[in-house]
Point group: C2
Chain length 569, copies 2
């Protein structure tokens, strides 16, 4: 009992009070949210006696007591734990319920099971409301242990497994954590374009977006159905025009009646129209339209060549340079033949952009954001994280705690190279040579964060030669204000920079890199007119999930992975 009457209820007491509350329901549905039963501190015991409707999919089921009753482990996706359901043979045909994957909706009463069982509560069924059956002989993902690789061939059913469902909840949590973090910090969410005509970044190979092929195929079919006119058809039409013209001339010369002449002119015009239509059609050629030997993109949907975006950064900068703090969170694309466990052709990126801020502010923001996500998972997804720790990576929860609570190390690129060179002297072997000027390889990054510091490391001020033109040139004229956040397990999680806001300098940098100025004129305008100090970074969303969960292959942490040769569904 509370010690004083005046004191407001403490959170433990509130929890105790809630134990007697009614169970929570799924929104817009009459069934209970299974998490609100089995996810309670008391495992649901306090709900004993309540009548509920539950719906979900059978994870495992078995008939017991010589077929007099069945146990079903029911899961509705709201949490990793199942609700234990008991059905008597008198209530339903048990054999139709027990197959893994069966969908059932049942009415029943929550009861505390006999002692000695793991469950704190179970549902005793009074009525089976509906059943979506499964023929276990045909079910592609039966109960047996399935590899993640096997599941990739069954994208449409793999979310019914514990692992993919847990990853869906973790991904959902991280996405909402992302929005919550930036909204709390007064960033505006900006939808940058997916289809882009800016081939600006040189970030990688791009997918082309076009209607030219389908249009040419349509035309090809059309021309087969009704072939273009022959030279003879056109000649005949031309002949007709000249005959009709002659007829008009004669009528006029003969001073025929006005109505006769009018009729004759009308005939002439009809013939002319027909001729021009035929001539037009004769020009139609199957195949993709060309001009001067090149594809004629003026005939494509956007009247120019268009691609899928590789980053929303340049576009989101237009908003940062107008409304201050913004972020984008959307799909990005790379048409690279990467068959690794770390690359996807379609993946999601989070890209904040901060106005009136420099590289130090950028690092602060990146660190705060990563910590926020770690805390969010520990706070809201601990059951799923426990599942990942048990099944895939026993250190994943400790890693989240460590990152959430440890200040990130900050070292310059030059210091990083020195540390790596020291390590080499000490006998450490790297596949890639270490010397000032190289881009750090994944093995270098992981050495720094996993071995040398054993915590997150931010490396900043990289040589300008290995970084993009838009990164701000430092006063040493050798390095740019770029930074990468390295974390254990995945290495580089974030890449960012202060942007070059000085018009003359960025113009010079574009030219220096051998890039044309014209496509960047709009980007230069941001520096020409009311320029502002600003910075930003990009976080690969799937990398964050790999880091959090310890899953090895990026194809398993996105619902519908796209990679060379595969884009199922």
């Amino acid at each position: 009992m509370a010690e004083t009457d005046q004191a407001p209820p403490q959170s433990d007491q509130l929890a105790a009070m809630n134990l007697t509350d009614a169970v929570e329901k799924h929104a817009f549905s009459d069934r209970v949210l299974i998490r609100s039963i089995v996810g309670r501190p008391d495992g649901g015991a306090g709900l004993s006696g309540q009548k509920v409707r539950a719906g979900g999919w059978v994870k495992t089921g078995r008939e017991q007591g010589k077929g007099t009753f069945a146990f079903l482990e029911l899961n509705d996706g709201s949490c990793p734990a199942n609700l234990q359901v008991i059905v008597d043979a008198g209530v339903a045909v048990l054999s139709k319920l027990v197959a893994t994957g069966t969908c059932v909706v049942v009415d029943g009463i929550l009861k505390v099971p006999p002692e000695g069982t793991r469950q704190k509560i179970e549902l005793r069924v009074e009525k089976v409301v509906s059943v979506g059956e499964v023929d276990p002989a045909k079910y592609p993902i039966p109960k047996t242990k399935l590899t993640l690789e096997f599941l990739r061939d069954h994208l449409h059913l793999r979310s019914r497994t514990n692992t993919i469902a847990a990853l869906a909840r973790i991904r959902n949590a991280l996405a909402f954590a992302t929005h919550s973090f930036f909204q709390e910090h007064n960033f505006l969410y900006v939808h940058t374009p997916i289809i882009t005509t800016s081939d600006c970044e040189g970030a990688g190979e791009m997918f082309q977006v076009t209607t030219l092929i389908s249009e040419s195929e349509k035309l090809e079919k059309e021309l087969i159905k009704s072939p273009p006119p022959s030279e003879a058809d056109i000649e005949a039409a031309r002949q007709l025009v000249s005959e009709r013209g002659e007829a008009v001339k004669q009528l006029k010369a003969a001073k025929a009646s006005k109505s006769d002449i009018t009729a004759s002119v009308a005939e002439l015009n009809k013939a002319k129209e027909n001729l021009s239509k035929l001539e037009e059609r004769s020009k139609l050629k199957p195949g993709i339209p060309k001009k001067d030997g090149k594809i004629d993109y003026t005939q494509d949907f956007f009247a120019r060549q268009a691609f899928l975006t590789v980053s929303g950064q340049l576009q989101v900068e237009t908003y940062a340079c107008a409304v201050s703090n913004v972020y984008t969170f959307g799909p990005t694309f790379r048409a690279e033949q990467s068959h690794t466990s770390r690359h996807l052709a379609e993946f999601w990126m989070v890209e904040p952009e901060i106005a009136f801020a420099d590289l130090q502010d950028d690092m602060k923001c990146a660190e705060a954001y990563v910590k926020y996500m770690c805390n969010w998972l520990l706070d809201k997804c601990l059951d799923d994280m426990e599942f990942m720790a048990k099944s895939y990576d026993k250190g994943c929860i400790d890693r989240l705690k460590m990152v959430a609570s440890t200040p990130f190390v900050r070292i310059t690129y030059t210091e990083a190279v020195e540390l790596l060179e020291e390590a080499v002297k000490g006998g450490k072997k790297f596949e890639n040579e270490v010397k000032w000027g190289i881009d750090l390889a994944s093995e270098h990054e992981r050495f720094l964060t996993e071995v040398k510091f054993q915590k997150p490391v931010i490396v900043y001020n990289y040589p300008k030669g290995i970084k993009a033109f838009y990164m701000r040139l430092n006063d040493d004229l050798k390095t740019v204000a770029a930074m990468d956040v390295l974390v254990p397990k995945v290495g580089e999680l974030i890449g960012g920079s202060q942007r070059e806001e000085r018009y003359d300098v960025i113009r010079e940098r574009i030219s220096e890199m051998g890039l044309p100025l014209e496509p960047y004129e709009w980007y230069l305008d941001l520096r020409r007119f009311g320029t502002v100090k600003h910075c930003g970074f990009g976080l690969g969303f799937e990398r964050m999930i790999l880091f959090a969960t310890g899953i090895d292959n990026i194809r398993d942490v996105i619902p519908f992975p796209r990679y060379p040769g595969r884009a199922d569904l």
Copy 2:
């Protein structure tokens, strides 16, 4: 003062307390959030005497008192209101500060201005920290009134205008409201794919995603640089192989030394390798690879034809049929030659999917979601909504209030047609004929919601002939469990349905519509194994913004509009 010491402070009192707080800062930056000054109930007056750093863009500026000081209206994007800034000539060169679009960072002291001014607070500048200048003669969007149409030609700068900035804040608010609504109701956010190989929905023309064109262009360039071997080159290589073969044969016949033979065989193998390389290269043909007269998509990036998604519904259903309530919120695409103010080639859609729920639940969810968004805007964006009301649509705030508070009318399609027929009898003229079986045209929808009921209307149970195959067949066998939500100003805002969960029925419906079964096998699997009653809907996100703000052209409510002939940036 509070009436009793015990009572917790009321919200009014809390607000009063906060008035003496320090101003709020932009996250990760040292400048103040202008909203936290001018957006206070007291207009900022309570902050008088505080020293702050402010940064933003000059909306209007003018020199006064014969050039002894300047007024600047400074905006940082955090709200529609500006902070009035006063700079003395002794502090800075005033002419460099006053041009519209200039970016300034200033330190100063907040002071209550002399009576008779509109502002409640102004900033008296002590130091100008930095200036991003503007040459007003060159600035593409000077202060003069600019049309929205003109601004579409300056996408990279238009967010600096009051209207586009207000729309950015409203769009951001609606996006976060969307996530908040679904998260509060225990829906999981699922990222459905952007690139898809399912051409399933028949929802419209699709954009093709390909690397075939760029690959063939690469090859073409490569072949120009180093042309394929000629027939003579190959013949020569063939000749060499036979000579080398002959040499080996002779050495063997002559029982030459082992090392001589080995060397000779090595020469032969080199010649063979060279020949096969040349033969391989001679097969290279510029142009898109073909097989049997058709484009050979096995050579495309995904080894088959791929498109941009028109809807995430079918894919998100795979998650609903595994983890219950889910939603997707992402970009979708239509390659249609629509030059209207209502269509975009790239737009954002919100698509929830609810398991264990029917059409009634679907309507409840849709109504709750729309009301939630209306309340969110009234609660969090009232200043921006007031700007829209003043500048574009004086009724927009009342419309939000009405929709937030009025139960949506629900009528069947059959009732809707009867009402329209009555209206026609009463003298109402429609361009499109009204009779049972037609798809309702926009004019019909707007008549129902704007004239007949003057509130939101949900029309449900449409004739099956005009709806998609996946909508659940009603017991009358004539209609399907579809529903559209109609609202004043835009007409159809939401379209949804209960999905056909019966395996036999949906199979039959696919065939009935003349569609092939094979591409739908994965979708059928969801009904074959553990099928569940479920429903969902789609909301066109830009339509919601049009509805909320009264803006007429959809190209103005998305940051980077894509439509036929245009995809700037």
